[in-house]
């Protein structure tokens, strides 16, 4: 895992940039093979996103949870852990804050904050459990977090069915108005696109990510443990506790993401047939963003645009929306296999080196 971090901090700008380009080219090739017009497709994608304020606002809505789950995955990465469980943590955050939003009776604002925190903490605990299993039982976090994703899905459904869904419905009641995170006036400005405070919270989260990891004592320990658990143990740090802590904070980000989705966008939660997918996308976002908070925000913007714009592509050029997955996959692949990217970059890099000498 240390390797991963190493990989993503080198040439941290050029490589993702080229990877994105290569990804788009792969997508174009796939489109040509399918008999579509890639130029028209990418054009319609951009038109969809930037064509009117409503869709632009909705794109921002789409980007928000990706920032959260991206931060979640990146934070864990930085501490030597691979959090595939952001998905489940997000779901748990959703259900916890919807519960708080529906059941609690609190003054406006306070209610929202309480519901938000409960969602975040629930997600955090869900993640911490994975960390705890790793710390005490040595079970690899990748496996457990995958399992915990499915458990989260069914657990959330159970909570819904048992406590929150009225007879004859398949979704909870709406949360109380006091718990809503929607920003009415902004939404109005964007032609009733569902904009909410969650976006601001996500950006704050990115700042918090940076401060925690690079400015605090906790962050020092987390990074040390992530980079070299043996040396950290030797230096008197509690490796196990830090693993749990790292997973808690990762889960917290994802949980907050889930909370913002229900408090800001939906205002209720429906019985789910499948996982929403933001957590898995978060992995991609984190990887493209080089596991830095700023990179994650940029990565989320890219992903938000691609996935939201995909419908436009379908409308404008008839390209199935799944094509965007091909693009995203290629981007991750090229970021991972940066050696391949370097092949493409060789001429450029060589020139740079010469200039430097």
């Amino acid at each position: 895992m240390n390797k991963v971090i190493g990989i993503f901090t080198k040439d941290s700008f050029l490589v993702p940039l080229v990877a994105i380009l290569l990804g788009l080219i792969c997508g174009a090739i796939a489109m040509l093979a399918g008999g579509f017009d890639p130029i028209l497709a990418y054009q319609s994608l951009l038109e969809k996103v930037f064509g009117d304020v409503y869709n632009f606002g909705e794109t921002i809505r789409q980007i928000t949870p990706l920032i959260f789950t991206g931060l979640s995955v990146a934070f864990a990465f930085r501490t030597g852990l691979f959090n595939i469980g952001a998905e489940g943590q997000l779901v748990i955050g959703m259900i916890a804050s919807v519960y708080a939003g529906v059941v609690f009776d609190l003054p406006p604002g306070i209610h929202a904050v309480v519901a938000l925190l409960i969602g975040g903490i629930a997600g955090g605990l869900w993640g911490a459990f994975v960390g705890w299993l790793k710390a005490t039982r040595g079970v690899h976090e990748v496996i457990t977090s995958i399992m915990m994703n499915w458990i989260a899905l069914y657990f959330a459904n159970w909570v819904l069915q048992t406590f929150l869904v009225p007879e004859g419905q398949q979704r909870s009641e709406n949360i109380k108005d006091s718990a809503v995170l929607t920003i009415g006036w902004l939404s109005q400005m964007f032609d009733s696109a569902r904009l909410h405070w969650g976006t601001a919270i996500a950006l704050l989260g990115a700042v918090a990510f940076f401060v925690i990891l690079w400015k605090t004592k906790t962050g020092f320990e987390l990074r040390a443990v992530g980079l070299n658990p043996h040396a950290s143990e030797y230096a008197g740090m509690n490796v196990n506790r830090n693993v749990v802590k790292a997973m808690f904070i990762g889960g917290l980000f994802a949980g907050l993401g889930g909370a913002c989705e229900v408090l800001g966008v939906f205002h209720y939660q429906a019985v789910m047939a499948a996982l929403p997918g933001y957590g898995f996308d978060g992995i991609a976002v984190a990887l493209i963003g080089g596991n830095t908070p700023f990179g994650v925000v940029l990565g989320a913007i890219l992903f938000g645009i691609l996935t939201f714009g995909a419908t436009g592509m379908k409308f404008g050029a008839g390209v199935p929306v799944e094509l965007i997955r091909v693009v995203i996959a290629s981007v991750i692949f090229f970021v991972a296999a940066h050696g391949i990217v370097r092949l493409f970059l060789k001429p450029v890099l060589n020139r740079k080196k010469k200039e430097a000498v």
Partner: protein
């Protein structure tokens, strides 16, 4: 040693140059090895010996130069080619697959077959025959992870013989052995030569060269210095040629003035990693103002002892006291804060976070102290000035305090660790293999620092596999064998032979002094 005629030269390396990023490991090296001789390759750490042999064995490709085997120019592109040319290598770090059996390791890559499966019965038979022929008794069915280091080395030798090696390279084969095992190895090497094999022996131990070799090639900083016939040289000449100056291996120090007991270990027992008893009731005292050296062959409980002392491993019984404080099974942090510092044996694994900057590494154990930590937030200004001070004081050569530790050379990494640990001004400083893999200059520096601590009235516990180091630096020597202290001796009253015997398990003979 006579007639260097072309016919009996089996290996000739001409003008070999091999570069690594930032370093020329081999710089136009020349080497000629005669058939049937034991040829030493002598040089300091990092001189380029292993690199040269890795080139000969096909693991590295040189940028320049030619290799001739039996007068024939060859292109050794892989170990496979080397094997076919009859070159075998016993590596410094054994190339054995731990969960495999002896037989499996030996036949790997050249397995006898019956139908589609490996003919394990035949393979084991072959191994047995070979080991008989050369007097290398090993159990063909034992697993590598269950046998001793000496045995593992024999497996490595058998691997080369199984492949029909005529030329066998030994890379520092004695570093991991007890003196008795070294004797047996020398016996084996003589057997091999008798059977017509040629041996290239890498070492920086002059005594060994004098004892077993026929000729020696000296390498310094990647360059060939000279090739000598062992019969016509002496250790002083070799040392001078190896280091490039007259060397004084002796550590300057005054008589120790031991005072009160700082560390007291009573009857401590602990389990090792494989669930066996690694420490079987170990007891020792370290006093203020003395250096206690622990001598022993690797794997006799040294690592476990250090781990128990530093709180990384739970002890099952016994007590450990640091001054009056019971630190048995306390957390590492508490022990460290009570005044114990430790230079770990594996600096990359335990000593440093290689991807942290130097300044971060310098506060790895103290970042939470008030001077660096303001209410949960770290004061990076304080941390950096602290690091700058230490780096200057201990002459750590680093481009800047913001450089990741990874970028420093081994010697400088070690200096940084020592700076950090000594700066804590501990009651007890544990130094585990503090000079392993370092060059003479760095070793001198480190030994000075250890003595300095002692002279400041601190206790020092030195753990080392190098008998020279133990004999030179310690004020008292405790010999550890199979998890127990088998004797405590005065370095001035003992010698390597006696220590060697004790390290191999025999109790100290009455009287203690022994023959020169």
């Amino acid at each position: 040693m006579n007639h260097l005629t072309q016919e009996n030269i089996v290996v000739e390396m001409r003008g070999i140059t091999k570069r690594f990023p930032g370093i020329i490991a081999n710089d136009n090296i020349q080497l000629k090895v005669k058939k049937g001789e034991i040829h030493a390759l002598l040089g300091e750490n990092g001189a380029g010996k292993s690199t040269l042999m890795n080139v000969l064995f096909g693991l590295y490709q040189p940028e320049e130069g030619d290799i001739l085997i039996n007068g024939q120019k060859v292109n050794i592109t892989s170990p496979n080619v080397a094997n076919e040319l009859g070159i075998g290598m016993v590596h410094q770090h054994f190339m054995l697959v731990e969960p495999f059996t002896v037989t499996e390791n030996i036949v790997l890559g050249k397995e006898p077959k019956k139908g589609m499966s490996i003919d394990i019965a035949k393979a084991a038979k072959d191994v047995e025959n070979l080991s008989k022929q050369y007097g290398l008794m090993v159990d063909p069915h034992a697993k590598i992870e269950d046998i001793s280091v000496g045995m593992q080395q024999r497996v490595e030798i058998l691997k080369t013989l199984y492949r029909g090696a005529e030329i066998i390279i030994f890379d520092e084969p004695t570093a991991v052995l007890t003196p008795q095992e070294i004797h047996e190895l020398i016996e084996i090497m003589h057997n091999l030569v008798k059977e017509g094999k040629t041996i290239i022996l890498i070492t920086h131990k002059l005594k060994e060269i004098m004892a077993v070799c026929d000729s020696v090639t000296i390498i310094r900083r990647g360059k060939t210095i000279d090739t000598l016939s062992v019969a016509n040289t002496n250790p002083d000449e070799l040392a001078a040629k190896m280091v490039g100056r007259e060397v004084n291996f002796h550590v300057e120090k005054t008589e120790a003035k031991p005072k009160e007991v700082i560390l007291s270990v009573q009857n401590v027992t602990a389990m090792g990693n494989r669930g066996v008893n690694a420490l079987k009731g170990i007891s020792l005292d370290v006093r203020a103002g003395e250096i206690l050296g622990i001598a022993g062959v690797d794997g006799n409980g040294q690592s476990e002892l250090i781990e128990v002392l530093t709180g990384l491993r739970k002890s099952q019984g016994g007590t450990i006291k640091l001054r009056d404080k019971d630190i048995t099974n306390k957390l590492p942090r508490e022990i460290s804060e009570s005044g114990l510092s430790n230079i770990p044996e594996d600096r990359h694994k335990r000593g440093l976070v290689l991807d942290f900057t130097m300044s971060e590494n310098m506060v790895l154990e103290t970042y939470f102290h008030k001077e660096f930590n303001k209410g949960g937030f770290l004061d990076y200004n304080a941390i950096e000035s602290h690091a700058a001070k230490l780096i200057q004081e201990f002459d750590v050569r680093t481009p800047s305090i913001h450089t990741p530790a990874r970028a420093l050379s081994g010697g400088n990494q070690q200096k940084a660790i020592i700076a950090r640990e000594v700066h804590k001004d501990p009651e007890l400083l544990i130094a585990a293999q503090p000079t392993r893999g370092l060059d003479v200059g760095a070793i001198e520096f480190i030994h000075k620092r250890l003595v300095e601590q002692r002279d400041k009235g601190k206790a020092v516990l030195l753990v080392s596999f190098e008998l020279d180091e133990i004999l030179n630096v310690s004020d008292r020597i405790a010999v550890i064998y199979e998890g127990q202290i088998v004797g405590i001796v005065d370095p001035k009253q003992t010698n390597e032979q006696e220590l060697g015997l004790m390290m191999a398990g025999s109790k100290r003979t009455q009287g203690g002094t022994s023959v020169e």
